[in-house]
Amino acid sequence: MTPNPAIILENASVKYRSPEESYWSFKEFAINLVRNKVKMKDFWALKKVSLVVEEGETFGIIGRNGAGKSTLLKLVARVLAPTEGRVVTFGNVSPMLELGAGFHAELTGRENIFLNGTLLGHPVREIKQHLPEILDFAQINGYIDAPVRTYSSGMVARLGFAVATSWVPEILILDEILAVGDEEFRAKCYHRIAEFQRNGTTTLIVSHDMNTIMKQCRRAVWLEHGTVQSEGPAVDVINAYHNSSNNN
């Protein structure tokens, strides 16, 4: 059986732009706009990136800060549309928020489950069905009806992860999230991710931790200044990345 693609990037490029100088008055801005003199500074965060990630695969993305890793994830998560090229995804994408990013401090844990669940696009009816399971995983116990501002960072992380992974996604995005939490919680997260993978979820992992990539991913890509430096089996890509760091 030939595997189906889950994510396809075809020469995808993303250009960020901002005015070169800030105009201190609207009049000046308008005059320059009419004269077509507003200079924009262009910055290509991704340049002609082509990738195919297969269904059920766990795929790693490595590179230095500012290499375009997050931009690539944004393309897959539909947050950005490519300036040029094409992005196709098959199936629902569950982005992993920086844990706690979608929480409101004044609301209780329970209220936040509903807020967070709807942010991820789930209907309230389904969230109600998933509630016991979310509570069980998060282990907030007696504090679930207390405001989230009283939670420890570990509790916030657990609750965030529990909501985000209560639905089995077809494409899962993990952006450095497993760096927080204690050992036990991390083990639980990996267990759940492994469960997803057995069920056929395609996973994209961004991490600076090469052990994570090595352990989790079969294939990986190394990005540098928005372009693909190397793509292939995770071991080879990591070796190439290490060699280049050593030479610098």
């Binding site: 993303v14 250009k15 960020y16 732009r17 901002s18 005015p19 105009y23 609207f26 801005f29 910055f43 944004k74 393309l75 998560a77 539909r78 947050v79 950005l80 549309a81 490519p82 300036t83 094409r86 992005v87 196709v88 995804t89 098959f90 199936g91 629902n92 994408v93 982005p95 928020l97 920086e98 990013a101 979608g102 409101h104 004044e106 609301l107 209220e111 509903f114 807020l115 709807t118 942010l119 991820l120 696009g121 209907p123 309230v124 069905q129 998933h130 399971e133 405001p147 209560s166 089995v168 077809e170 759940r192 469960e195 997803f196 069920n199 056929g200 979820t201």
Partner: protein
Amino acid sequence: MENTGIRRTRIVYDSSHRGPLALEEFRGVIRYRELIGQLIKRDIISRYKRSVLGVAWTMLNPLGTMLILTLVFSNLFHSVAGYPIYILSGLIGWNFFAQTSSAALNQNVWGGSLLHRIYVPRTAFTLSSLGTGIVNFLLSLVPLVLIMLIIQYPLKVSFLFVPIALLILAIFSLGLGLLFSTIAIYFPDIVEMYGVALTAWMYITPIIYPEAIITGPLKLFLFTLNPMYYFIRLIRLPIYDGIVPPFSTIGIALAISLVTFIVGWCVFTRKANDLTYRT
């Protein structure tokens, strides 16, 4: 785990095959309608939790302003019968407009940063602040009716027209907010400028003074060319004057709000991508 089986939805997203952005956004809003409901609920709950009087402040706030304005101006404008009702009916309309349009403009609200991380229809946060504004408006009708009963001001059936007037104004506020927040992408100072402009705008609109004191050519600028003049009339006529607004007023107001909304929505959805492109 409860349901281990993966649901193959086969939702295909292809960045090169997208419909018109204005329509895409509309579909997104329908799909995320429950999120908008949750956001409104959150706004109201967190407001209620923060202060002792909670929701009561929503009602007390315009009441306090009305009281001050009545004390200050009732001597000046004593020709106006039922001056407290005159002010209050204009003020709740104005407050709704000022709050919702500046909330739409101010992308710095809670959740704004989420737009950089996950896909959510970009207008979802704006729409939720509009929803909160509508709830606040309806709450502020409670003290208004109470005052009317206390000072024995006639409460007419025309009052039932107020929700329709509110809806027309809400569409205008949304359109204007979206239009300005698109401009704010390129020129952030407009957020500050808008705050100042709002104050000026409030004074040229007959909210605290009677329409009759403006005469001559000034009338053209302050009333005829001022969209808010029509919207405030739309709310004030059924409350203060006790009549359903004439068709001409409804027609003009509806036309202004629909045109503003369509322009604002299309411009915003076309340019909203630039919002995330800016780092």
